[in-house]
């Protein structure tokens, strides 16, 4: 009896989380895949005809937005790294007793809704808003200059909104670095730059890897920034999917696009893990 119970323990442990994922992830994904090859309309309903042409049509119409999403995602992720690394480094090594305060400050914007934070950008960057208004009336910028409704605004908003997801994992990785290793490297005549390049940076790679996963995937699929800050040529694939479902009532196309996005992100992430896999990262770190 006791042995039976012991055998059941791993299943019982996995049951709540597993059920959660089955109900809220597996079922919708299966429904999505099934819907993506159906044909029909809202009134008569959609029927399964294994119409794989949905995928070709979706790609024909919207490949531009796919490419743009990946591109914006990559730029925003790189910007996040550039901004987050020095910040995390400073907090980890120079933060002293107030480390948790600094981390709290980074998380502070998260106490305001995501959409509200982005809307506030509309006001700050508005054509006649806080920043551009005075610059225009003083003649520094021409009347028709704008930041809103451009790719710059969208990438900026994305970077801003996802920055903490990059700071935190890098911080965790750096925080664990034993500073005596750096001192040892310097004892062995490594300059500060070399010590950073050969010791600290490799040790922080797992954190950066996690940071890239946490930012790139949601950034590439984001639709709030593009719809609030973007214009007519900054639409991302998330907006298209939303429109297909909510405006065009074209559920098969929306599903096909969602599934393609999922596949592209998964393949991208797996090849990224392959090239800079955690395994290798750890090996580098151990060297």
């Amino acid at each position: 009896m006791r042995r039976l119970r012991a055998a059941a323990v791993p299943y019982l442990l996995i049951l709540p989380g597993g059920l959660w994922l089955v109900i809220f992830f597996v079922i919708p994904v299966i429904a999505l895949i099934s819907l993506s090859t159906q044909q029909g309309d809202v009134v008569d309903g959609f029927t399964q005809t294994f119409h794989f042409a949905n995928y070709a049509a979706a790609w024909d119409n919207y490949h531009e937005q796919f490419v743009r999403s990946v591109l914006y995602g990559a730029i925003a992720t790189l910007l996040c790294i550039a901004l987050a690394y020095p910040m995390a480094y400073w907090i980890a090594f120079r933060g002293g007793a107030r480390k948790s305060l600094y981390l709290f400050l980074i998380l502070l914007p998260f106490f305001v809704s995501f959409v509200l934070r982005t809307v506030s950008w509309q006001y700050i960057l508005g054509d006649n808003g806080l920043v551009l208004g005075p610059l225009k009336s003083s003649g520094v910028l021409p009347e028709s200059f704008r930041i809103l409704a451009t790719g710059t605004a969208v990438v900026g908003g994305l970077t801003y909104n996802y920055l903490p997801f990059m700071v935190l994992p890098i911080y965790v990785a750096l925080e664990r670095v034993d500073f005596r290793l750096v001192e040892a490297a310097q004892d062995l005549y490594a300059s500060r730059a070399v010590a950073f390049r050969r010791v600290v940076f490799p040790l922080s790679l797992p954190g950066m890897f996690a940071g890239v996963l946490l930012t790139f995937v949601p950034v590439a699929a984001d639709y709030v920034n593009a719809s609030l800050l973007g214009g007519t040529s900054n639409t991302m694939i998330g907006n298209i999917i939303q429109d297909e479902f909510l405006t065009a009532q074209d559920y098969p196309t929306g599903s096909a696009l969602s599934f393609m996005l999922m596949a592209i992100l998964l393949i991208g992430m797996f090849s990224y893990a392959r090239i800079l896999g955690t395994e290798e990262v750890l090996e580098v770190a151990a060297r």
Binding site: V26, V43, Y62, S144, P206, G231, T235
Partner: protein
């Protein structure tokens, strides 16, 4: 991350088993998952619907509350018309401006009604476009209690009692009509636009606003080509989409209701707009925006009150619907929203009100409304105004696949 990996390695067998378990249940569920269910009930004939409605209404009990879903800037800002209703009937009203556009509102309520649940709204205001027809076809609206529409039949104009998309007023009664035309901000646009071509003027590059709704934007593409939306074909739609694409580099954004905000902030200089919004915005924010129906044509639409199926307070909803057709209440509404009222006597009431009022400001505003060419359209205007392209759920698939990429960008 390292600890996670170690755990996974040490307990590989259980993980595999768990995956197998997950895969099995997924396979079982795949059989059940069939996407979106179809087979909508066939639309009833009006006489069938009427007798079914009579039975339905007999079974209903009056309630003391009603939830009203409407568009932004579409009622008197003080909600006086609603307060008077509560005073007269004891029925409280929750008024929410939740409708941003028809497609997304339809997408929100359709699954709820389909699942047999209450949307939380007892009255909703829907435009005479694609979604209106779909709600009827899907049987997702409750036929109105004709015996409670006394004010509507007594005071509304004949044209509003004979609407082609809802003969016999079985499912809906009109809230207001209006036109889609061109609005501009005179601070940036010096020569008043008269033609649809002004939306294609490169001088306004980056500051042109267009609407995101495919039905709205399709009409403007067709007007530019001189095609009547009522008789347009798939070939015409493609041509219209092509001409809209040539405009895209000038367009700042394809807007929903947010266009009005962009126009008043100076982000767009010239934009597609709904007639009454411009007046309301000027009134509430002191802006000086202008509006015109372009000479090539504009769109005439009617928004209609409907009761969604499974609504909790249908009897109170009927009372409120009928309330708005009292000429006095209708006049209050028109003064505030400056859209076309289905009650013709409103114009005389507003004029009389203007003659009576002592404050010169009020008098000026009232006279403006009473003489507004946007509210009291001339025969010439009516000749230029067209309805949306008549599409149904079948043709809309083609229609949207042509116009959606324009808006997508």
């Amino acid at each position: 991350m390292t600890t996670l990996r170690n755990h996974a390695h040490g307990r590989d067998y259980s993980r595999r088993n768990a995956l197998r378990f997950g895969g099995l249940s997924a396979a079982g569920l795949a059989l059940a998952a069939c996407g979106v269910q179809g087979a909508a009930p066939k639309q009833q004939t009006s006489s069938q619907a009427l007798s079914a409605a009579q039975q339905f209404w007999k079974a209903q009990k009056p309630t003391k509350h009603v939830n009203f879903a409407n568009w932004a800037l579409y009622i008197d800002p003080s909600h006086d018309t609603l307060k008077q209703f509560t005073k007269a009937t004891g029925i409280t009203v929750t008024y929410s401006e939740v409708i941003q556009d028809d497609p997304s509102f339809f997408a929100k309520i359709n699954p709820i009604i389909r699942a047999g649940q209450d949307t939380g709204y007892d009255i909703m205001v829907i435009t005479d476009g694609l979604e209106f027809g779909e709600l009827l076809q899907l049987g997702e609206v409750t036929p109105l209690d004709q015996s409670k529409l006394t004010n509507f039949y007594k005071y509304s104009g004949k044209a509003y009692q004979n609407r082609s998309y809802d003969p016999g007023n079985v499912y809906s009664v009109p809230w207001a009509s209006g036109s889609t035309g061109i609005a501009w901000n005179p601070k940036y646009v010096k020569t008043p636009p008269t033609s649809i071509n002004d939306l294609w003027n490169p001088a306004y590059a980056g500051h042109v606003g267009m609407m995101a709704d495919p039905q709205e934007i399709a009409n403007f593409g067709l007007f530019k080509l001189g095609i009547d939306p009522a008789t347009s074909t798939e070939k015409d739609w493609k041509a219209a989409a092509a001409v809209l694409l040539t405009q895209k580099k000038l367009v700042r954004k394809y807007y929903d209701q947010g266009y009005i905000d962009a126009l008043s902030k100076g982000e767009t200089w010239i934009t597609m707009a709904w007639s009454g919004d411009i007046f309301q915005q000027n009134l509430s924010s002191g802006t000086n925006l202008q509006f015109v129906v372009p000479k090539e044509g504009g769109t005439l639409w009617t928004d209609n009150m409907m009761i969604p199926k499974n609504a909790a307070n249908p009897v109170a909803a009927m009372q409120l619907i009928n309330w708005f057709y009292q000429p006095g209440i209708a006049a209050q509404l028109t003064e505030a929203i400056e859209y076309i009222s289905p009650v013709p006597s409103v114009q005389a009431i507003i004029k009389a009100g203007a003659a009576k009022t002592a404050k010169p400001d009020d008098k000026k505003t009232l006279l403006e409304v009473a003489d507004s060419s946007l509210v009291w359209l001339s025969a010439d205007d009516y000749a230029r105004l067209k309805s949306y392209v008549p599409i149904n759920s079948k043709t809309s698939v083609t229609f949207n696949s042509i116009f959606q990429p324009v808006v997508a960008g």
